[in-house]
Structure formats: C-alpha cells, structure tokens
Amino acid sequence: MAVQTTTHGAGRVAGGSLRVGFLMVCAVFFGLPVVWLILAATKTQASIFSDHPLSMGSLGNIAQGWSNLLTFNDGELVGWIWNSLYYAGSSVVIATVLSVPAGYALAKYDFAGRKALLVLTLIGMIIPTAALVLPLYLQMNALGLLGTPASVILPLAFYPFAVYLCYVYCTTSLPDSLLEAARVDGASEAALFFRIVLPLSKPIIGMIFFFSFVHAWTSFFLPFVMLSDDRTFNLQVGLMMLLQSTDAINAEGGFAALPIHQPEAALAALVAVAPVLVAFLFAQRYLTASDVSGAEKG
C-alpha cells in the first residue's frame, strides 16, 4: 500500500513537471514576442538595434516615447482611444444583448426557421469581410449614416460568432432536465431565461463580452471604409495612418521630421493592446463562476 502510494506520487510529480514544462515551452513561443515588444518600448531608436533583444532600456524612454506619439496632430491619439472605447463599448453591449437570447433559443427550442437561422448565421460567421464591407458602405450611404459612429457600431454589433458560442454552450452545458423542472414548477419562459439560463451562462457571457470587445476594438477595415474625418478614427485606423506617415515601418515613407520611430511604434502597440488585457481580466472572473451540476442537484 505504502509502496503503491509512493510510485503513484512519483508518477504524479513526473506528470506535473512534464505538464509545467510543456506549458512553459508554449509560454516562450507565445510570450517572447510580447516581452520583446514591451522591452522595445523602453529603448531608443539606436539601442533597439545595438543592444541584446531581451535587454531593458529605461522607463524614461516610455515617457519620452509617449510625448513623441502625442506630437502627431496635437495629440490626436488620445481622441482615437476615446473613439475606440465608444465604438467598441456600444457594439459589445448590443452584440451581447442580441446574441445570448438568440443562441439560447436556437439551442433549446425547436421552431420553424431554426435550421435556416443556423445556416444563415453560419454564413454570416464565415463570410469574408471583403464581401460585406463595400455593400455596407453603400447601405450606410443610402441611410445617410456614413461617417457617423452608428456606421461602425451597428455592423460591429452583428457578431454571429457570439451566437454560435452561446448556441454551443447551451447545447453542451445546459441540461434540458433543469429547464423542464423549472417549467413544472411553473416558471414562465421569460423567468426561465432570466433566472436560470442567464445565471448559468455567466462563463459564456464573459467569453462573448470578451470576444465581441476584441472583435470591435481591433476592427480596421470597416472603420477605415466608413470614416473619412481623421478625428473620428478609431485607434487601429489612426495608428495605421500615424505609423505609415512616419518612418517607423517604412524607411522610405513620409515625415521623418516627427520623432516617431520603432520604439514609439512598439509603445503604440502596447497602448492598443492594454484595453484587451483589461477586458481579459474582467472576463476571466466569469470563467469559473458557474457549476451546472450543483444547480441540478438543487
């Protein structure tokens, strides 16, 4: 017995270090580019080439880099950040409100048009952006919405992937027996959704919130086509314009007079990533918030 426990324990330790080793190797693959990017923002244009890739510059360079970025069109960057938050925030709220009930209904009710809706949603999910953006442009033009926040927010709020996430979650993790039991207890369909489905769907609502936020925050082509006034740009479109008009990416391109080079580009990338990390940490809290099996035992 004792011997058995020891071998079992040894196996577990070996398995544990194998597990950690595998995860660490993956962490190097995924993490090293990010570590480099963070370090690059602390360097100067010269030290980014001369120093070791994983050496650190000074924190003062970050402050200097930030003020250099603000030299572009009198700090237009700050306005782009607010625009991005506004566009992404609005479309996330709409996308979540639309997709959660839809995904739930598609998973748990048999109704006429269900399969058609699933297939059309599938098409919406995998259709190339290139096929949609020009017709959307003409549509927004016809509605007189071109250049307005709505021309970006509304198309971004249509996020079929979220519907599929919710659909798969409800079919996989939401037992029918639980819903039937609540119906027997006299719960209305609305009460069922609000009091049982929503609380149990917290993990997927967190995921939907997160993915629709990233989808909206990183969107480039749609706002690029819809918006023409650079003050209404979102951060992605703005940064593309900023970096392409300096020599940070293209040595041939543009205004070498602006002090915006590779370290500033790295810093701009970090600024663009930061809200995604905040959203991640927020969504993370919902990941393990539910336990259906516990609810089922009631």
Binding site: G16, V20, A27, F30, L32, P33, V34, W36, F49, L98, P101, A102, Y104, L106, A107, K108, Y109, D110, F111, R114, K115, L117, L122, M125, I126, I127, P128, A130, A131, L132, P135, L136, A157, F158, V168, T172, S173, L174, P175, R183, V184, E189, I204, G206, M207, T218, L239, M240, A248, I249, N250, A265, A269, A272, V273, V276, Q284, L287, S290, S293
Partner: protein
C-alpha cells in the same frame, strides 16, 4: 432521473398527476396559454438578432452577389454580364498561385494549431488555478497585437540580428529577414498564424471545460481514471461540439488568410507578393483596380469553399441536433 428528483420538490409532481385526472377548465386554459407562450418564446428571443442578421449580414451579402453579376467599364458603363466577373476571376493567372499558397498554409497551420489548442486547454484544465490563468493570458496576448504594430513585431521576430528567437534562426542558418521570409514563407506565416489565433480558441475550449458537470469528472477520477484518461475519454468527447465549431471557423479563417501575409509583406518588402493569398487578391481587385464586381465574386467563391466544409462538418457531427435528456 425523473423531473421531480431533479427539481427536488416531490409535491409538485404528484399534485400535477392527481389534478390531471380531474381537470379544471381554468387550469386547462392556463396550460394552453403556457404552451402558446412556449411556442412563441423562441421567436421573441431570436427576433432582435434576426433583424441585425438580415440588415448587416444577409442584405449586404446578397447585394455583393448582385454586384458580382455586373461589369463596370468607364466606356460602356455598368452592364449585366452574369458570368464575366466570375469567369475572369476564376481564370486569373494569379489565382492558381494564391490558391497553392493558401493550401500550403492551411495544411501546415490548421492541424498543428488544432492539436495545440486542445493539448494546451486540456493540460491547463488538469490543474486550474492562478498559474493556468496566467498562462491563458500569455497565450492570448500575441493575438491582440494587430495592424502596423504587428508588422513591426513580426519583422523583428524574423530578423536574426534583433530577434529574441535568434538562436533558433541561427540554427536554421538564416542570415537576415529577407532570407528567412523568402525561403520559408508558409512556415513562418503558419507560426505567426498559430501565435495570433490559438490563444482565443484556448480560452474558449478552457471555458467549455470549466463548465463541464463536476460530478461526472469526479466520478471518473474515483473510478481510477488517470488524468490522461479523463482528458481523452471524458473531457474531450464532452466538448466535441467546440471542436466542430473550431474546425469550421478556422478552416474559413485559414482559406481567407489576409492579415499575416499583409503584415509580413509590409515588414519585408519585395519578398511576399501583394496577392499572396486569395483574400489579398480580392482586396487587390477592390482597392487597386476599383473592380468591386470581381472582388465580390472572389470573396463569395471563398465563402462557398468555407461553406461546403462547414456543412460537411455539421452533417458529420450532427451539430444542429437538439439533444433531449443530456443528463
């Protein structure tokens, strides 16, 4: 398991059965009203979404198809020529090259990423906690870096002088970025693609694993299953619908690859054609030639390829089946 056991309220069931033998008219009316509400409920739930689906998905897609049937000429004006765009696009000499590039990319990227996603998610879920949470974040972040910044980042990653991966690049005998990219374009793009896309799917599969009924997993452990067996025989089959979803979405994303070659082409000029992938060719029609009919035709052809694979996966996995009695 009966309904009463689950509800944990035995009186409700027995009460109902007793009453059913001697129905009251008021109760029957209530039951009928409830049945009607139950029939109507799904329409109420999907209606707002369906509105957006039509407005910002179906309508523009149909309009895109409509534009693909017309040719635009400065001299002749717009003419209805249903097969011209499609014919010209499908016989474009660049399409064969793009299609070969994309096929190589998908063959390298898709299988390796699928294995990695499930391997990482299952290994992470074997011991949930702070370490697993931190790792999920690390795996996710590269995907959040987009646009110009991504061009800068990946250019530096493949430049041996400045890359943190320089030992690896030295090992491959790569002298400079141009050499790294020109010789191994699909491989480098596939690695980029994994770094960018895997993290999001790891999150999704992990969330799915975290939502699995705990008692089933505990029962498997009590029955003496090793964590490997629990992962392969219990957890993986339970999240298989996610595998179908990932396969559908990643195949479509892979055939539509755009960001990675564009980004790398910006960083290392002259090594990657601006029409390297099929989707880039579509953008080329739209932005360089101003030919939206052709762009729409090629985009929709790409959609068709993705759709065929998606419907095949859906059919094979019974993805749309409504499960009754999961537990």
């Amino acid at each position: 398991m009966t309904e009463t056991e689950i509800a944990g309220r035995p009186p409700a069931g027995t009460d109902g059965r007793a009453r059913r033998r001697a129905p009251e008219t008021g109760r029957e009316a209530r039951v009928l009203a409830r049945r009607r509400r139950r029939r109507l409920a799904p329409y109420v739930f999907v209606a707002p979404y369906a509105l957006f689906l039509v407005g910002f998905g179906i309508a523009p897609a149909v309009y895109g198809f409509y534009t693909s049937l017309f040719t635009d000429d400065t001299d002749a004006g717009t003419t209805f020529a249903p097969l011209t765009n499609w014919g010209e696009v499908l016989t474009d000499y660049r399409l064969a090259d793009s299609a070969r590039n994309v096929a190589t990319y998908v063959a390298l990227w898709l299988p390796s990423m699928l294995v990695l996603i499930f391997a990482i998610a299952l290994v992470l879920h074997a011991r949930p906690g702070r370490f697993a949470a931190a790792m999920r974040l690390v795996y996710y972040v590269p995907g959040a870096i987009t646009g110009s910044a991504a061009a800068l980042l990946w250019l530096f990653m493949v430049s041996p002088q400045v890359s943190p991966f320089s030992p690896l690049l030295d090992l491959l005998g790569v002298e400079n970025a141009t050499e790294a990219v020109s010789g191994n374009t699909p491989l480098i793009l596939a690695l980029m693609g994994i770094a960018i896309h895997a993290g999001g799917w790891i999150l999704i599969v992990y969330a799915a694993l975290a939502a699995l009924p705990r008692d089933v997993l505990e029962a498997a452990v009590i029955d003496g299953a090793s964590s490997w067996q629990v992962a392969m025989r219990v957890k993986f089959p339970m999240v298989s619908r996610y595998a179908a979803l990932i396969l559908i979405a990643t195949f479509a994303a892979g055939t539509q690859v755009f960001v990675e070659p564009t980004v790398l082409a910006t960083g290392v000029p002259g090594q990657i054609s601006s029409t390297w992938s099929i989707n880039q060719l579509a953008y080329y029609y739209a932005t360089q030639q101003g030919d939206f009919g052709k762009a729409a035709a090629l985009s929709l052809a790409l959609l068709l390829v993705g759709l065929v694979v998606a419907l095949f996966v859906i059919y094979r996995t019974k993805f749309y089946r409504i499960d009754r009695g999961l537990s």
